[in-house]
């Protein structure tokens, strides 16, 4: 399949995914005990007040009617308004989504910056002390819970050393990245351990490939053999792994954003679930589904660029 064909086909595939997730999340949100009105007014509100607000917001209608209205809205590009923030959902997510995307992208970059060179060293020095040291340190990273690592980084680098802000988000790009660095590092830690282990194994496998012997027999420099012949082949499987982790990275952002008070969609999701903010929960789930689908698409495109056999 050609590159353009693949892109088009994958974009089309997002449509049924979108619908399926739409139905599921619509039902799931309503299966949560309580509703937006009781969440807003609290348990001491009078039945009359609750009923009035419920009518006002359309929650007195049948689930089916609500669903039809929901789908109609999406078709018009209208996801409704947040019941908690009283502003359009599109505006709310529009403000928050870039924060989370930046956070996860920064986390991915940090993870790769740590993992790729160290995987290389570990593989080339396999089963000698640099390998054991690198694997040992990453093992700690892999087995530490995200919230715990976050709190430690926060205590050491923000509270004690004051190198980074304790939380929040900046105005300029540099300021934003500075604010996001610790949360991104937290998010990157276990991710980089996964990448490192995968890439190390992939490099070790490629090192035994006959084309590496052939490259050696041609009298190429070690540097060229490692980077052009070994790394490129090893990265093919690692790219897949990174792409597949886009979803869990967004999941990790929920915890990280809560620990570091980052105003992203992860925290918004948690808050919205507590507030039974149906429109936000629904829209956010759908948007994240699209983001993950697009991440998979980008993964495939990178893989096509790395490995000509993928692009048939």
């Amino acid at each position: 399949m050609s590159r353009a064909g693949l892109v088009l086909w994958r974009l089309l595939q997002i449509v049924p995914t979108f619908l399926l997730i739409g139905v599921t999340i619509f039902v799931l949100a309503r299966l949560l005990p309580g509703d937006p009105v009781s969440a807003m007014l609290g348990d001491r509100a009078s039945d009359e007040a609750v009923n009035r607000l419920r009518q006002q917001m359309g929650f007195d209608r049948s689930i089916l009617t609500q669903f039809v209205l929901f789908i109609e809205g999406i078709a018009r590009g209208d996801f409704g308004s947040s019941t908690a923030y009283r502003i359009p959902v599109t505006q709310l997510i529009g403000e928050r989504l870039p924060v989370t995307i930046t956070l996860t992208a920064l986390a991915t970059v940090i993870a790769l910056v740590f993992a790729v060179p160290l995987a290389f060293v570990a593989a080339v020095k396999a089963n000698r002390w640099p390998d054991f040291l690198i694997r040992g340190v990453f093992q700690v990273g892999l087995s530490s819970p995200v919230f715990y690592v976050g709190l430690i980084l926060l205590t050491v680098f923000a509270a004690w050393l004051r190198w980074f802000p304790v939380g929040g988000y900046g105005e300029t790009l540099g300021d934003k990245l500075w604010h996001l660095f610790l949360p991104a590092l937290t998010l990157a830690l276990s991710f980089s351990a996964i990448i490192m282990r995968n890439l190390r194994a992939a490099i070790l496998e490629v090192l035994t490939a006959e084309f590496v012997d052939f490259a050696r027999s041609k009298g190429l420099a070690q540097r060229i053999i490692l980077f052009r012949h070994v790394l490129r082949n090893a990265l093919v499987s690692t790219v897949t792994l990174v792409g597949l982790h886009a979803g869990s990275l967004l999941g990790g952002a929920v915890i990280t954003e809560s620990v570091f008070a980052v105003p992203g969609v992860g925290r918004l999701m948690v808050d919205s679930i507590f507030a039974r903010d149906y429109p936000v929960i629904q829209a956010l789930t759908l948007v994240l589904a699209v983001v993950v689908s697009l991440a998979f698409l980008v993964t495939d495109l990178i893989q096509m660029a790395l490995d000509p056999r993928v692009a048939r």
Partner: protein
């Protein structure tokens, strides 16, 4: 082609020992070989006889668990003692290698053109345009049509025979003086095998290049080689001009090997397979390693290893039954 000037390659007492979890394995045990300018040497033997390891040992293309001893004299200097820089300069530029399975020996993610050009970058001073031109010439040389277009192709877009041709083109990029060919036709269809052999022969003649051809196919040796060395259990057991060795084998193993393969000749004789298995190489072999399978075995074969001795012009064998073989040939 025998006789003549000094060899360009002389392998002396080459030994390769692999350190494995189950103990050390002596895959090559004191091999001597020599190749003269432009000569084609066949290296034959069963799987596991150490012929590929010998070939890889010449340019030190062995895994880290391999210990290499002996000398590999290339134009008089020992490659086993050479610095990594010197070795890198010899590999590809002076001694190149081709492998059995082109699908795994070619890098799947690099175009054929890239894989030729990187050799040119390493060993020549050609500029970008010059390298492109030379790469196209090389594909043309190995018989790949519309070479210019094919440079952009990837290995998986080629057929098996084409891949082997492409691998030869890559190996020849820097005009080596010696080509190490490790079973270059074994993975190919019979019809293609012949084409590739003819191509290799033609290239050796046209470029004045020497070749060591590793194969388990005696027919291939008969067709292509000037001289042949027969390997068994990590040792060279017989070595000589192809004609003499095939007509008058002076080692019981060579004799048995020749009887186990079909001849194109007129008188049909039943094929005689060699019974048994080669010895394990993880313990020292006492006496002649072929003794347990040998039809001509005598008592001393089991205890004393026969010396590798001249048996004719440029012909040598390590067999206690050598004289009996010669007499049997004479009376037959």
């Amino acid at each position: 082609m025998s006789g003549g000037p000094d060899p360009i390659l002389a392998v002396e007492r080459l030994a390769v020992t692999f350190d494995t979890p189950r103990g050390s394995v002596r895959a090559v045990d004191g091999v001597d070989l020599s190749v003269r300018e432009g000569e084609i040497l066949g290296l034959v033997g069963e799987s596991g006889s150490g012929k590929s390891v010998t070939l890889r040992g010449i340019v030190r293309l062995l895994r880290a668990n391999a210990a290499v001893a002996g000398r590999v004299l290339w134009k008089g200097a020992d490659l086993l003692a050479a610095s990594p820089e010197r070795l890198q300069a010899v590999r590809g530029r002076e001694i190149a290698m081709i492998f059995q399975e082109p699908m795994t020996a070619l890098n799947p993610v690099l175009s054929i053109g890239t894989q030729i050009e990187e050799s040119l970058v390493a060993h020549t001073t050609l500029d970008d345009a010059g390298r492109k031109r030379r790469a196209a010439e090389l594909l043309d040389l190995v018989g790949i049509a519309s070479a210019k277009v094919r440079l952009a192709a990837y290995p998986h877009e080629f057929s098996g025979g084409m891949r082997q041709r492409a691998m030869i083109a890559i190996a020849l990029a820097a005009q080596p003086r010696l080509l190490l060919a490790d079973e270059p036709t074994t993975a190919l269809d019979v019809t293609i095998q012949d084409q590739i052999l003819k191509l290799l022969l033609g290239l050796c003649q046209d470029l004045g290049m020497a070749m060591i051809l590793v194969t388990h196919d005696l027919g291939v040796v008969a067709e292509t080689c000037d001289r042949v060395s027969v390997m068994y259990a990590g040792r060279v057991v017989e070595s000589g001009p192809v004609e003499a060795l095939f007509r008058h084998p002076r080692h019981a193993y060579t004799h048995a090997l020749l009887r186990s393969m079909p001849h194109g000749g007129a008188a049909r004789q039943p094929l005689v397979p060699i019974p048994g298995q080669p010895p394990r190489l993880d313990r020292p072999v006492e006496g002649c390693p072929f003794a347990p399978r040998c039809q001509l075995v005598e008592d001393r074969c089991r205890t004393v290893a026969p010396p590798f001795e001249p048996v004719g012009p440029a012909h040598a064998a390590a067999c206690w039954a050598s004289d009996r073989l010669a007499m049997a040939e004479g009376t037959a």
